[in-house]
Symmetry: C2
Subunit: 339 residues, 2 copies
């Protein structure tokens, strides 16, 4: 009637096995408390009847549901799925189920979801949260929570340091002989964008490169494509783009103008989101989003176990992945930087 999978309860099993309900319960949760024969008898009966413990009832009395929530800004952004999958895997390894929430980049929606999940999850991991620090803190007081790509003091968090990879990218370009490069920036409000831009400028300064910034404002193919005019106007010989999508746009714009990559111009992306699956394969910065997912989940699980919030701050460094859109400027041209 109710669509329940089976109407079977511990009582049925208890009757069949000739024991009390509590013994059935213990057979499943703490078999060591029972004699081996009793456990065996109960298990046999359970299997014979096709009994399966009711998750909800168990959750009600224990307060443990075995669920966690994962909340992301946008499932369809290719950056997140690998992270989701990794988190999922880790959760399942520990016999947890995961609720997935999609906020559409909207803080209100994020709060709403948090509320809806509350009471059926034991913990939450918030990815690239758009909430204010204060809001995040207020949620933390209610239930275990870990952050990904959001740096709030006192709250367990795992951060993907794209700065390290971007730095390598700039060093790579310098080593190849480029003297002037441009950073194609992303959304100004983005934590990642700030991080990446700063890294580019720091390393460029250290290695004596000139760097100009061209704003793509939003992170998209079109934004990258539209920025090409301004990029070329700088007379730079290489560009580091905020992300792969932007980089791909830049490649398109370059192609439109007949600029060959990497022969005439080098491009590096960030996040390794398209993998090698475009042509030419993009030199980019690894994202380690999978590890972020795994680590965040383990962190959360540890908290659930120990019941203590640790001020963990797990930083994942990224690295340059050299493919085919970068090449030595001198090697390609056999001469020095144009005047």
């Amino acid at each position: 009637m109710t669509g329940r999978s089976t109407g079977l309860t511990i009582s049925d099993v208890a009757k069949a096995a000739g024991v009390a309900r509590s013994s059935v319960s213990r057979a499943f949760t703490r078999p060591d408390m029972l004699s081996p024969e009793t456990v065996q008898r109960i298990m046999d009966a359970a299997k014979r009847l096709g009994y399966v413990p009711n998750h909800t009832a168990r959750a009600l009395s224990t307060g443990r549901h075995g669920n966690v929530a994962l909340i992301v800004p946008d499932v369809a952004n290719p950056f997140f799925p690998p992270l989701i999958r990794a988190a999922q895997r880790e959760a399942e390894r520990r016999d947890f189920c995961v609720f997935l929430g999609n906020t559409d980049e909207d803080p209100k929606q994020e709060s709403k979801l948090l509320g809806r999940f509350a009471g059926q999850v034991e913990g939450v991991v918030l990815v690239s949260s758009r909430l204010s620090d204060a809001q995040i803190r207020s949620h933390v007081s209610q239930r275990p929570l870990v952050l990904i790509n959001r740096d709030v003091e006192g709250i367990p968090r795992v951060l993907i340091d794209s700065g390290s990879g971007v730095s390598e990218a700039v060093a790579h370009l310098a080593e190849l002989g480029h003297k002037k490069i441009v950073y194609v920036s992303g959304p100004v409000t983005s934590w990642s964008n700030k991080q990446r831009k700063a890294a580019v400028q720091a390393v460029a300064a250290r290695l004596g490169l000139t760097v100009e910034t061209v704003a793509a404002s939003v992170a998209s193919y079109d934004a990258g494509r539209n920025a090409v005019g301004r990029i070329l106007a700088t007379r730079a010989t290489a560009a580091v783009a905020f992300d792969d999508l932007t980089a791909q746009g830049v490649l398109a714009g370059l192609a439109d103008r007949g600029v060959a990559v990497p022969a005439d111009f080098s491009v590096v992306g960030c996040d390794d989101v398209l993998g090698a699956a475009t042509y030419p394969p993009l030199t980019t910065v690894s994202n380690r989003s999978e590890e972020a997912g795994t680590v965040a989940l383990s962190l959360l699980m540890d908290m659930l176990k120990s019941r203590v919030v640790q001020d963990a701050r797990h930083v994942l460094e990224t690295h340059l992945v050299v493919r085919n859109t970068t090449v030595g400027y001198k090697a390609a041209h056999g001469k020095a930087e144009p005047g």
Copy 2:
């Protein structure tokens, strides 16, 4: 202690409002049964205390959890995220939460997840299930279930008919003057692959095109790239690939050999997974996966409401999206098909 958001229960509210627990319960679930003033008083007390109903307890007594599960083969496959997001949105619109399951294309894993979710969801949508018909049927007997891209008689299902779009693609190529094309096939076990291949052959026959099949075996960039030698050997002038990833590989392989696209060769993908975000933008077939997600969810919700399984079979037709990897063969060459 237990990390519950609040220790508040209906009893607290009842006491504060000076009514019985049952009245508090009714104030939230069937306010029409109470006098307006009582409802008001209870609500005030609840708000003042910060009471929020316990989802788990409610689920235990009603059998309704307000959760559904969405199980996909691989979150990271770009085909699924838009579908997931759409389903999510639809679920939320109806105040449902969604569990996400990832099977890694493994039927065993799929069964396991189905089991783990059982008892905490009211219904399931299974996307591109790898289970056998019999297994699927056995699950259906246990709880409401709807299928996406899996055609099992008697079970509500929504099917994305990529055949229609592929047919358009072939017609498009014919119209452009191509006489001989190749179909770069995907996994032989794939329902979609069968569908697409059949469509290509049917339309080609009708329009008098010659079509050869080149197997890429798995759907991937590399597979596509490796197939190019064989594709070119057929002396065809255009290719329809199983999916966008494969198509992208084909483009890469073509570029490796100096074959210009679309000037010398036309390529069309399928699934519109990379959007326009590559260069040159790929002519492909739309996927309508978002609608599939939305429709599947509504179907499920209807079943939950009416408690009756309808043998719905919802087919979504796809269409050709013309971008820049196809062009008239004659237009490009100004002559007839080469000998």
